[in-house]
């Protein structure tokens, strides 16, 4: 197991390193100079040069890269130009919002999606199943920015039930969370449904029935337990993309999370924050993947290595 875990960590680090390199090069490849962005229309070449020197951007690229990598090891991404604080501090101020939003969305998706999927599978082919299928298809394919806008239009602007955005009150998380949860919820419904149907077709289900177990136990224990394996795999991956994908929802609902920070920082060419955000997002993504892998081992004894 340790060897396996080590290998897994190794490849995860490789992915982080790759992403870090790409974001480093990308930020420097795109037009737009942080100094110019800050100084605005009236910037003079002297002012720009002075600022770049202050920020160490006049150093040769390899030096900057090496600097970036060595400091990345201790999660030091340097000073944010735009915010005047360490980039990591900016990230750690916004990340909790994104994680909070993602978790609420995740819980919502799970709590609604799982039972709905099981129900749909048991009602296979009936009207309820078809309705749920259509709903989940819609949830999966509708653009979340539009769904968000429509929710605001309906619940906020017309009915005045929920706030339209921001993180100012506790119920403010609901609309963005629902919007964010919808695609994941749909994925869960579909996965649970097809997973359960597939699991129910396996011979061991016949065995369970031949043992004379009640149908509730056959489905609830033997069926569901096996179906968890594919569900956890995909849901884990989706959770990773949930964080990254929160950008749009955060934009629509002015949610002060990492996604918005990333967008704003890209716009301001705030290299340090962009690099910090991307590295943290990717780090999160690969961590979740590792957790999923480990969870896989918990759920599926065939994956466990003896001894």
């Amino acid at each position: 197991m340790p060897a396996y875990l080590l290998g897994r960590l190794g490849s995860a680090l490789l992915v982080v390193l790759g992403a870090a390199t790409i974001v480093f090069l990308a930020m420097r490849a795109i037009p737009g100079d942080p100094a110019v962005v800050m100084l605005g229309v009236s910037a003079t070449p002297e002012q720009v040069a002075a600022l770049r020197a202050d920020w160490g951007l006049d150093a040769p690229l390899p030096v900057q890269y090496l600097n970036f990598l060595t400091r990345m090891v201790v999660l030091d991404f340097g000073q944010s130009i735009r915010l005047g604080m360490p980039a990591m501090q900016a990230v750690s101020q916004t990340l909790p919002y994104t994680i909070y939003l993602a978790l609420v969305a995740f819980a919502l998706a799970l709590l609604v999606g799982f039972p709905l999927g099981v129900f749909s599978a048991l009602q296979r082919g009936k009207a309820a199943d078809k309705l749920i299928s259509l709903f989940s298809l819609a949830g999966q394919s509708l653009p979340s920015f539009w769904v968000g806008i429509m929710l605001v239009l309906l619940l906020s602007r017309t009915l005045h039930i929920l706030p339209s955005g921001g993180a100012g009150s506790p119920e403010a998380v609901l609309l963005p969370a629902v919007t964010l949860a919808l695609p994941l919820l749909s994925v869960i419904v579909r996965l649970v449904r097809s997973g359960l149907l597939e699991s129910m077709g396996e011979p061991y289900i016949q065995t369970a029935r031949a043992k004379g177990l009640g149908e509730t136990r056959v489905v609830g224990v033997h069926g569901v337990r096996n179906m968890l394996i594919p569900v956890v795999t995909v849901v884990g991956l989706e959770l990773g993309t949930l964080l990254g994908g929160a950008v749009i929802v955060e934009t629509v609902f002015a949610w002060p999370g990492l996604g918005r920070l990333l967008i704003d920082s890209i716009a301001a060419r705030d290299y340090a924050v962009v690099q910090a955000s991307v590295v943290m997002l990717v780090l999160f993504f690969v961590s979740i993947n590792i957790v999923v892998d480990l969870l896989y081992g918990v759920l599926d004894p065939r994956v466990r290595v003896d001894g």
Partner: protein, 289 residues
């Protein structure tokens, strides 16, 4: 094996289920609207008419025509704009899928067939791609080459190839180990012969399914890019762009965001049903996300 009988069912033209016919008709309608709509109801991005701005649906305009779905913030007819947008959306979707599937299938087959270092490199790049925020990628490409139709297609293709590569690779791995490939080998067949005769034909069905499922996602992704202001240049009408532009007018002109959103939703749902039905019939075990 299930895929085979399904192929024949499709090929032999036995009664197709509603799950295919209905959405196919809707999608066909969109294609038709996209092709001939702009001819019937031309959209000129430059033809603004300030007196007609923000008019609700079913309003008679200054020039005497009737605006079925209302007008936007500079007085252009929303329906005409949406028809022109349909053309762009469908074109972007199709072009992206062609590009992404070509890249993805090529890399996936190579990685799956030869394995080893090539496989490791391709799959590692895929991992990075998956973890990397696509927004940043979009900004990057848009900024480097400037916003254009090609760039949007490029960005979307770059974010989509992984799905195709994964499916192609998995399918290649499965097919590669199938006995009929061994049979070809014992005939003395070369790798190229095997890839062309055994692997690629087996990829058609799953890739088709993935492409159908992805089609809706790509259209939505294009709209999302436009929504974030990273999409097509101003002057090229897109659904996402219109929805985004209408966001500031939710208070006084709800139709600007709502109408193209409904059009987009109906399309992607129908494409989704189509993809689902195809998947059920062609390759039930395919995971396409």
């Amino acid at each position: 094996m299930a895929d085979l009988s399904a192929t024949t069912t499709l090929a032999s033209g036995r009664a197709l289920p509603l799950g295919i016919v209905l959405p196919a008709i809707v999608v066909g309608f969109y294609v038709l609207a996209a092709v001939i709509g702009p001819i019937l109801l031309g959209f000129d991005p430059v033809a603004t008419s300030l007196a007609d701005r923000l008019k609700p649906p079913m309003t008679a305009l200054a020039n005497g025509s009737l605006s079925l779905l209302g007008t936007d913030a500079v007085g252009r007819d929303l329906l005409a704009q949406m028809l022109a947008g349909a053309r762009i959306s469908l074109a972007v979707g199709a072009a992206t899928l062609v590009l992404a599937s070509l890249i993805g299938v090529a890399l996936g087959v190579v990685a799956g067939y030869w394995g080893g270092a090539v496989d490791t490199v391709v799959m590692r790049i895929a991992d990075i791609q998956l973890g990397f925020p696509s927004i940043l990628l979009a900004v990057l490409v848009a900024a480097v080459i400037g916003p254009s139709l090609t760039n949007v297609i490029l960005v979307l293709a770059v974010t989509r190839w992984v799905v195709f590569a994964r499916v192609a690779r998995a399918q290649t791995l499965t097919i590669k180990s199938r006995t009929f490939v061994d049979a070809s080998r014992t005939l003395g067949a070369t790798d190229a012969h095997i890839i062309i005769n055994c692997i690629l034909p087996a990829l058609v069905a799953p890739i088709l399914v993935v492409a159908t499922v992805q089609f809706g996602l790509v259209i939505v992704a294009e709209a999302s890019l436009s929504f974030l202001g990273l999409g097509l240049p101003v002057g090229i009408p897109t659904w996402g762009g219109t929805i985004s532009a209408g966001r500031s007018y939710l208070a006084n002109a709800w139709w600007i965001s709502t109408m193209p959103g409904i059009a987009l939703s109906i399309l992607v749902i129908c494409v989704g049903i189509l993809g689902d039905t195809l998947r059920d019939r062609l390759d039930p075990n395919l995971v396409t996300r």
